[in-house]
Amino acid sequence: MKWLFFHYDTFLEFERSVTEHQFVLRCMPRTNDRQRVVQAEVKVSPAVPFTAQEDGFGNAVQAGCVFFEHNSFHYSAHGEVFVSPDNKDRCALNPAFAYPSRLTAPTPEMAAFLKALPLEGGRHAVAQAISSAVHAHIAYSPGSTDVHTTAAQVFAGRAGVCQDYAHVFVALARLAGIPARYANGLVLGEGASHAWAEAYIDDGWVGFDPTRDSAVGDDYIRFSVGRDFDDCPIERGVFFGDGGQRQTVQIKVRELSQIDPAPER
């Protein structure tokens, strides 16, 4: 069990001022089986009111609007989360996660790739093998893809970033008959937000990180989940204005103190 403090900051700077800027944010972790949020807060600047609600997959959503002219938009989330080393989020399965979505539609080449893998054992072993195979297949290459890149494109191009690894994992796991979903959030020791994947095994979701080819442990804070990135982006906005924009992200994740798992009774 880890007690983590996180601070997530994004600065958007607009080349020319914009108005009527409607936004939707998903940068607030929610309590579930593997993480308990003890305190967390979202702030936006310019300071405008926003609402907190839930989206279709239970993610926390903040929605609001900056009506007046502004040249920059800053949003941040910070808080403390207890994360369990037990890598499982127990809940009922929404069958939507068993089927391809727009960004995770499989190709015949991906099906052939899956067929050639030595997949043995139960769902956990199969998902683990897929995670390792995806890690080996794709080269980590920032700038080679963008948020619209599909799993099929990444699979063919063999280069991408964490979002792409997660999409390919999700597509292949579903092809193998394992419901899977996209997850994003923060990881202790990483300076950027991170994306990984979860596979539904027995009675809950188990995290896999194909980018790092590692298990999802108590150093991962989850913001949101979806069938793919499109279901749960950290930020999405529309506004009136015609200039370009620049985005800067700052992330701090710090361990507050070592906590032992609760002693067995």
Partner: protein
Amino acid sequence: MEELIRHAGQINQQLSRYGVKFGIYKNGAFNERLFPYDAIPRIISASDWRDLERGLVQRVVALNAFLGDIYGERKSIIREKVVPEEFVYLTSGYLAPCEGFAPAKGIFSHISGIDLVQDRAGRWFVLEDNLRVPSGASYPLIARDLCRRCSPDTFRRNHVVDNRDYGDLLKEVMDHVNCGGINVILTPGRYNAAYFEHSLLAERSQATLAEPADLVVEGNVLYYRTYEGNTRVGTVYRRIGDEYMDPLYFRQDSLIGVPNVMSVYRAGNVALVNAPGNGIGDDKGIYYFVPKMIRHYLGEEPILQNAPTYLPFYEGDRRYVLENIDKLVVKDVAEAGGYGVVFGSALSAGEREELKATIRATPRRFIAQEVIDFQSLPLMLDGKRVERKADFRAYVLAAGGVKVWASGLTRFSTDPVSFIVNSSQGGGFKDTWVLS
């Protein structure tokens, strides 16, 4: 009747003056054309109508239960394997942002357009359910108005149920789910093919006609903008597609949406009529399961029959379809508006084999139906009385109770051999008289 036929030219002239048009995409180009009116009405007897009404209400109640079941937690129809889950989640109509949300009063399909045909024996068969934005109610509404003006005696002599209540029914639907504020009909704008209908319905239902730029979200409330200030909106009868409703939740390139309206909707601060996500209920593949839904949710036998339909997804059906393809009509479930419909009999031997191979490779993509020899109706074409295939769209409105509008849209094909009467494919319309 003779009097109506005499006035037909005049009425068509009036219709074109009012801008009663239909837009169609053909070969990649958008064309707007008049939707020709034929003066000889379809006449439905009072007893026939009573049966039809009962069947339609039952069907729409079951479809609403289905939508609530799928987007809610239970998903009983999937868990009990009445509907295979891929038929829900592989349709483009499934919308994740609608998960886990029950709209006001639990109504998803407020205005349903159910398309039917009658066989030669007079039995009704449902061909298609339209639970998203079924259009066309304005055609019989305006045609009846004009007929009444040209020939008031016709309606004095014949006991035809008055259809002028559509606006009131629509208002009732909007009022029933209103979350506080005015009723608005949202049109993409005056260049939309159905703009005439949007403006007519707004006038008849006393709603405000709004274009996307007239609506704005502030403080998780939807407002209609005016020069005097903002007015709160409680119901939006939106005449734009789900995917275009909100660029923050759906298609990001949509310029006709209202950003953050989905946040307001999910907070319960505005009703969207019809609910987004209804596409899982009127998908061509899901159609096959509607009789099963009626049994599952209502424990009743369906009053109205589907056209005999086969699902190549099931092995037995697939075998039948492949063996009998020359007498079946095959529909691609992803297409709408009469597109992707193939009559096996019209294919060459080579094309038939090609289609069979496609069905074998992707069986879930298709449904196949027996060709119903459906009734032709008389109509006047170039001064001569001829018979042409016609279908019927009934409008079913869900407010406190579920009601069927005692009128509807009868569409006919002008092509003597065509069975496709969808207005996207050419053809015209008639008034529909329900006798009292």
